[in-house]
């Protein structure tokens, strides 16, 4: 490594330790005896010499964030090659390389650490949090970033009736921002929302609760008297339409068109040329607010190049050594092929456990009363769980690399090891006995009937988006082995969703297994009906609960308890004693009632890392959309050598 390594403290260094892992604030660096002389990327040298850019010390905030690299302080230069399916499809991975938010999740995926914000402070009731911003922080166009940009986001975008007729609840109920002083801003809401920081650092990291006021005010009706006229001249009906076309909550969408060249950002890389339907190119942000422990401004890598390729071509491009890093959209099925070519392609494959196999939820609230009676019988669901040979599924579909499991969000701080093993033993005798007990006798053809003797068939309409036909075939054989007739039929995802909403489907599968941060932000994913797009069961139950019994249908006691716990959950601080209790009880209620039946979990997810890409976190606990993909693993310190 370069000579810089001598005065470069890394994550392994025991003297450079701050309040949060792997990063220091400027006072902490001084206390640890680190003297920082700022230097920057030679890429900017010409612009600095010609006066187009100020020198690095003036571009950095007075209080930059100091990052301790995984391996060593890096060298500047190079273009990193990435690929996604198309704009806004499979592109979250590459967005996460340059992403910033007020706070960040450390790479343990538990600790929340400062990022754009230097610090934060809650009030006692968790209805307001005050963030401290960095003095002298600047947008990528050099304009100052500060409290006003946060206030603008909340007051003039989220709470503007023209832009958001129904204000979003994601930052808390009726969230508002208020300026305290030049570096302090308070975000407050009507109901306690202690999960806000977790949300901001994980699945909310794709949206940022600030927007460049100096750029947007000229097209905003509240600030510019000519906003409507300007919008008409630009070809839009109203200023709000024009604003919508330029601003987007998904930070990824903002770089889809040429307007992305103008909108300033705090991200590590900024759109450089007009994007096309084939590619995007980003260049290092000269005003990025982080330095390494030797004082070099981050990021090291000059440019990020993103090509839009379909899945088959992505694989070929990886084999052909054209991709430097890829985490999203790689499948285990392609692992052998990728492994075989890894030497020739000059890349390494990391295998963090991240994926879960398919899950099944029988429709406990099926519209058909006869089917409902069967599916709502816990004995039936228990029998199904015992009839599944999970070991075999793991071998057939996942090269025996997964782990048989009951349906359970992975790595919860409030789960016990035995939770994942609940009722998953493969035991046909037990399954048959339970079905016999229900009165579902076997006919002469070996198939079970309804207790009244009429023929019984599970109509399984599945979408190949969530499950392979091979998996359905395996499962159908398991069902048949205990005498249950199955009629499996492939459908489009749109059709399965419509059936799910109408409660006419027998089996629903669209439950994207939530992780703990996802649950903190949205506990409804672990209580009926589990999925807003494609409800698993219990739409009527939730209506009943939400309307105090005026609408819908009365849920069973266990579901009522779940709804009550979910309501309380939103008000408790993550990690607190009550939080752990509620979480524990929700696991128990879900498991005891076998609301969802799991198959295989802890499936490794291949991640491609080119050999010349350095400072990549090696032991990523998991890489998933819900954690902001690479956001916790600090891609701004990657370098090519």
């Amino acid at each position: 490594m370069p000579a810089l390594a001598a005065n470069c403290a890394t994550v392994a260094d025991t003297t450079a330790v701050g309040a949060f892992p792997q990063q220091l604030e400027i006072e902490e660096a001084a206390a640890a005896g680190l003297t920082l002389t700022y230097s920057d990327n030679p890429l900017f040298a010409d612009d600095v010499a010609s006066g187009k850019l100020p020198p690095v010390a003036e571009r950095l905030p007075e209080q930059p964030l100091i990052e301790l690299p995984y391996e060593s302080c890096g060298v500047y230069g190079g273009t990193i090659e990435g690929t996604s399916r198309s704009a806004e499809s499979g592109s979250a991975d590459i967005l996460s390389w340059r992403q910033v938010a007020l706070v960040q999740m450390a790479d343990d995926l538990v600790t929340i650490v400062p990022n754009v914000a230097r610090s934060w402070k809650w009030n006692d009731t968790f209805t307001a949090v005050t963030f401290e911003l960095r003095k002298g922080h600047k947008w990528s166009d050099g304009a100052p970033f500060g409290v006003d940009d946060v206030v603008f986001y909340f007051e003039d975008i989220v709470n503007n009736k023209d832009l958001s007729p129904e204000p979003t609840q994601e930052w808390g109920k009726n969230a508002h921002a208020k300026k305290i002083d030049d570096t302090h801003v308070e975000i407050s809401f009507d109901e306690p929302f202690p999960g806000l920081l977790t949300y901001m650092a994980t699945s909310g990291s794709y949206f940022t609760p600030f927007a460049p006021k100096h750029y947007f005010e000229k097209m905003h009706g509240a600030y510019s008297a000519t906003a409507d006229a300007d919008a008409k001249a630009a070809g839009y009906d109203t200023w709000a339409k024009r604003f919508d076309a330029v601003w987007d909550k998904w930070m990824d969408a903002q770089t889809l068109t040429a307007t992305g060249l103008e909108v300033p950002t705090l991200e590590s890389h900024v759109l450089e040329i007009e994007p096309t339907t084939e590619q995007r190119l980003f260049k290092a942000n000269p005003y990025y607010f982080k330095v390494d422990s030797a004082g070099q401004q981050l990021p090291y890598i000059d440019r990020v190049h993103e090509r839009f390729l379909n899945a088959d071509l992505q694989l070929l491009a990886i084999l052909n050594s054209e991709i430097d890093f890829k985490a999203q959209g790689t499948t285990l099925q392609n692992y052998p092929t990728m492994q075989e070519s890894s030497e020739k392609g000059g890349y390494e494959i990391l295998m963090p456990p991240g994926a879960s196999g398919p899950v099944l939820a029988f429709n406990i609230t099926h519209k058909d009363p006869k089917l409902r009676q069967i599916y709502s019988d816990l004995r039936f669901r228990t029998a199904i769980s015992h009839a599944i040979n999970r070991q075999e599924i793991d071998q057939v579909s996942y090269f025996d690399l997964g782990t048989p499991t009951q349906a359970l969000p992975p790595n919860l701080t409030f789960s016990k090891p035995e939770d994942s093993q609940y009722l998953i033993d493969f035991d046909l005798d037990k399954a048959n006995a339970l079905l016999d007990e229900m009165g579902m006798a076997k006919g002469s053809d070996g198939l079970r009937t309804y207790p009244d003797g009429s023929p019984f068939t599970i109509l399984w309409e599945y979408s190949s988006q969530f499950v392979t036909p091979e998996f359905v075939k395996l499962m159908s054989d398991y069902f048949k082995s205990v005498g249950l007739n199955v009629n499996a039929k492939e459908q489009t995802s749109e059709a399965t969703r419509e059936n799910a909403k109408a409660a006419t489907s027998d089996i629903n599968m669209e439950w994207d297994i939530p992780y703990e941060p996802t649950l903190i932000a949205d506990i409804s994913l672990y209580t009926p009906y589990y999925s807003e797009i494609s409800p698993l069961f219990g739409i009527g139950w939730k209506q009943w609960f939400n309307s105090d019994g005026a609408e819908g249908e009365e849920p069973p006691d266990w579901a009522k308890e779940m709804f009550e716990l979910a309501t309380e959950w939103k008000t408790v601080l993550p990690g607190s004693e009550r939080y752990m209790q509620i979480g524990r009880r929700l696991i128990d209620l879900n498991l005891e009632n076998l609301t969802i039946i799991g198959t295989v979990g802890s499936i490794p997810k291949p991640i491609i890392v080119k050999n010349n890409l350095h400072n990549v976190m090696r032991e990523m606990p998991t890489v998933h959309f819900n954690f902001g993909y690479i956001y916790p693993y600090r891609a701004e310190q990657w370098f090519l050598q």
Binding site: A92, R307, N320, R497, D512
Partner: protein, 327 residues
């Protein structure tokens, strides 16, 4: 002639209108709409999209209005030459198409040239040397070309070119040239990348044309006028090119119209497989995503091309065969 053209034009406009209406209804008839598919894609990546967010997208795009209002708005704008926005790419439809047009035309033109340059001489050769080894070989290869599905051929050729020639896959440029300004090296890179798509897109057409050409020339060779021309002392080559081949080109010229459209629309599946930056994948994805305004504009464009192509082939026919007269 003027009346003929006016009538043709009226039919053309009526056809275009009808096609746009029917395609609008058909795209709408599929379950879901752009907003839902957008949400589903986000969900596929692991995001949780709320019903309110879907409603928001729908409201922004005007999808909350009934289909005939949407169609009316679209048509009124289209009449003024404004084909609206591509929702997927968030920019005007015209800009999206314009971006893909040059390379689409390059591929289309190269493929057409490939098809005709290869098929016409081979077709004539196998007619003149009927049942020779060369004829059998050409026929065998031709049948294979017809029988192999395009996308399969695309996959095989792509694999071979990646594996044995180390060529970058997908698109028309290597990554290092895709952003570079035009240069001699970039042109070479483009030409190298054109080989696979041109062969794939041209193979089945070539095979068909060889057979058509062979049959047509064979038909003509036994005619009396050939015999009399031979008797009057024309050299065999002159005779062949001046009479039988010219007549045999008639059926081939008459199919130029839809062949042009086929090549321009680029056989979407092949385009998707090879990740070609032409209009095929754009069209397919616009339909899959229910990106209505882009899909509408592309259907409109393809119909217009078919009609123009048919018109062109009519003119060609008149030029080739003096016996054809306008009624």
């Amino acid at each position: 002639m003027t009346r003929f053209l006016m009538r043709r034009l009226a039919y053309t406009l009526a056809t275009l209108l009808l096609v746009s209406l029917v395609s609008f209804i058909i795209i709408q008839a599929a379950p879901g709409d752009f907003a839902e598919i957008y949400a589903a894609k986000k969900a596929d990546a692991g995001a949780v999209i709320s019903a309110a967010q879907i409603a928001e997208v729908r409201r922004e795009l005007g999808l909350d209005q009934p289909w005939y209002v949407q169609y009316g708005t679209w048509l009124a704008n289209a009449a003024r030459g404004d084909f609206g926005q591509s929702w997927t790419w968030r920019r005007p439809v015209g800009a999206v198409i314009a971006e893909r047009l040059p390379l689409t035309l390059a591929i289309a033109f190269a493929t057409l040239v490939f098809m005709y340059v290869v098929s016409i001489p081979i077709g004539v050769y196998s007619a003149v040397r009927r049942y020779s080894f060369g004829d059998h070989a050409a026929s065998l290869i031709g049948y294979l070309g017809l029988a192999i599905p395009n996308f399969l051929l695309a996959l095989v050729l792509m694999y071979l070119s990646q594996r044995y020639f180390g060529q970058s896959v997908g698109g028309l440029f290597s990554p290092q040239y895709s952003l570079a300004p035009w240069s001699w090296e970039k042109l070479q890179d483009l030409l190298q990348h054109l080989i696979v798509p041109v062969i794939v897109l041209g193979t089945s057409g070539t095979a068909f044309l060889i057979r058509a050409m062979r049959a047509a020339v064979l038909d003509e060779l036994d005619r009396m006028y050939v015999l009399s021309a031979k008797a009057s002392g024309l050299s065999p080559m002159q005779l062949l090119l001046r009479y039988p081949v010219r007549i045999a080109l008639v059926p081939i010229a008459s199919t130029l119209g839809w062949r042009l459209t086929y090549v321009i629309s680029g056989a979407p599946i092949v385009g998707v497989v090879l990740s070609l930056p032409d209009m095929g994948p754009l069209f397919l994805n616009s339909l899959l995503n229910q990106d209505m305004q882009l899909a509408g504009a592309l259907i409109f464009l393809y119909c217009a091309l078919t009609i123009i192509g048919t018109f062109l082939s009519d003119v060609l026919l008149v030029a080739l065969d003096p016996r054809i007269r306008l009624e």
